[in-house]
Amino acid sequence: MNYSWNWAVLVQDPYVQWLVWGTEMTMAISIAALIIALVIGTAIGVLHSSDDRIVRSVMGAYISVFRNVPLLLQMFLWFFVVPEILPGGAGRWLKRDLPYPEIVTSIIALGLFTSSRIAVQISAGIDAVPRGQRMAARASGLSMLQVYRLVLLPQAVRIIVPPLTSEILTIFKNSSIALTIGVYELTAQTQQIQSMTYQGFEAFTAATVIYVTIALLVTLLMRGVERWTALPGTVSGGVSVQF
């Protein structure tokens, strides 16, 4: 193995700047997608736990489709197919006037893909709350919306913090797939450094270290969240969610 080391390449202009931009882009699309995923995933998960069989199967179909098509293909579908099949004005707007189309598209694709996975967790979390509580809450005069908002969801979300943590870690990793539609996130930037300088070892090591650091930060943050939100008298992580 003959390889000429040059770690200095990582702190040279413009490569250090590329690494910073890549990290910022990875953080930005992951966090934006996470917000979408949490909002939509919670809504779908709540509806999936409803007693109405039709609602439940429609939500089940949503989850099934988004979980069983590769994320890379989902990015392509949003990027190349949706603008073509949307009627007239909307399609034209997406193709011509949407600012930063690849970034917006990757956020939507990543957000919806992850929403299906979060929906499964939310729904499992709600199921893990003893059924008597739902009935008791209804019997004491709460509306269905109040039952979810005040009784079921606060407990469900606490129960699913551990699997949610791994889903958040996954979203940062999955954001790398955005490079396939031309987003210059961290992996794309290091790949570019590799092809410009042939210092692949240094470039990929930098990316690996940054991803590991992000993973450690997220894990620490979520452990903090778990501790701060723990209810007295409950054991956290008591329910395991299977996928």
Binding site: N68, L72, L73, L77, I177, Q194, F204, T208, V212
Partner: protein, 219 residues
């Protein structure tokens, strides 16, 4: 946009099927290799020697912290360098997938081995079996039955992940679909068709996984 035109799909069907065959081959090799490597890592990770267990944990957590695309790039760059001569994308991708899946399968294996009650480990030890014999003759046969559905589920995820070899232009199903989509200028038909194919295969895999949940009993 003109109406849905299926001729792009039918005209390039042999090419697409070749791509699909490569995707399935990648899945099979990565699954077989990943299972063997995963078992090995799980055994090391449950070892009582701290250093060995620690190294195995480092391997697993390292691979689980980085995106698969980065792992593919890593090995695409490293494998030719390590061998001192250029090799095709296929070999580096195979190595990347086996190493990456090994980390994930080892977690499934570890949970399976740990689910075997400690009394059985003690009983096996008391009857004179070594650690490896206990794993092979007592723990593994039970763990494998319990873990079979999860292994298949992981296989479905792995099959979806093989689409990522697109980044090193290996002609798997996904890459073949993009090539046909570009050549025929029919992205809508091609990508919708690809989505349906992936959906069908993954749903079948999931059905197999859930049917395995019911055949658990030890014959």
């Amino acid at each position: 946009m003109s109406s849905f035109d299926l001729s792009a799909i039918s005209n390039s069907l042999p090419f697409l099927l070749e791509g699909l065959a490569l995707s399935l081959m990648l899945t099979a090799v990565a699954m077989a290799g990943g299972l063997i490597l995963g078992l090995l890592i799980a055994i090391l990770r449950l070892s009582r020697l701290r250093l060995i267990a620690g190294l195995a944990a480092l391997y697993v957590n390292g691979f689980r912290a980085v995106p698969l695309i980065l792992v593919i790039f890593w090995f695409y760059f490293l494998v030719p360098l390590a061998l001192g001569r250029p090799v095709g994308a296929l070999y580096s991708v195979l190595v990347a997938f086996v190493m990456f899946e090994g980390a994930y399968y080892s977690e499934i294996m570890r949970a399976g081995l740990q689910s075997v009650r400690s009394g059985q480990w003690q009983a096996a030890k008391a009857s004179g079996l070594s650690y490896l014999q206990t794993v092979r003759l007592v723990a593994l046969p039970q763990a494998l039955r319990k873990m079979a559905p999860l292994m298949v589920t992981q296989g479905v995820i792995l099959f979806q992940d093989t689409a990522l070899v697109y980044v090193v232009s290996l002609n798997d199903f996904m890459t073949s679909v993009t090539i046909v989509a570009n050549n025929t200028n029919r992205p809508v038909e091609m990508y919708v068709f690809a989505a349906l194919v992936y959906l069908l295969i993954c749903l079948t895999g999931n059905a197999v996984a859930s049917s395995l949940k019911h055949v658990r009993a030890i014959a």
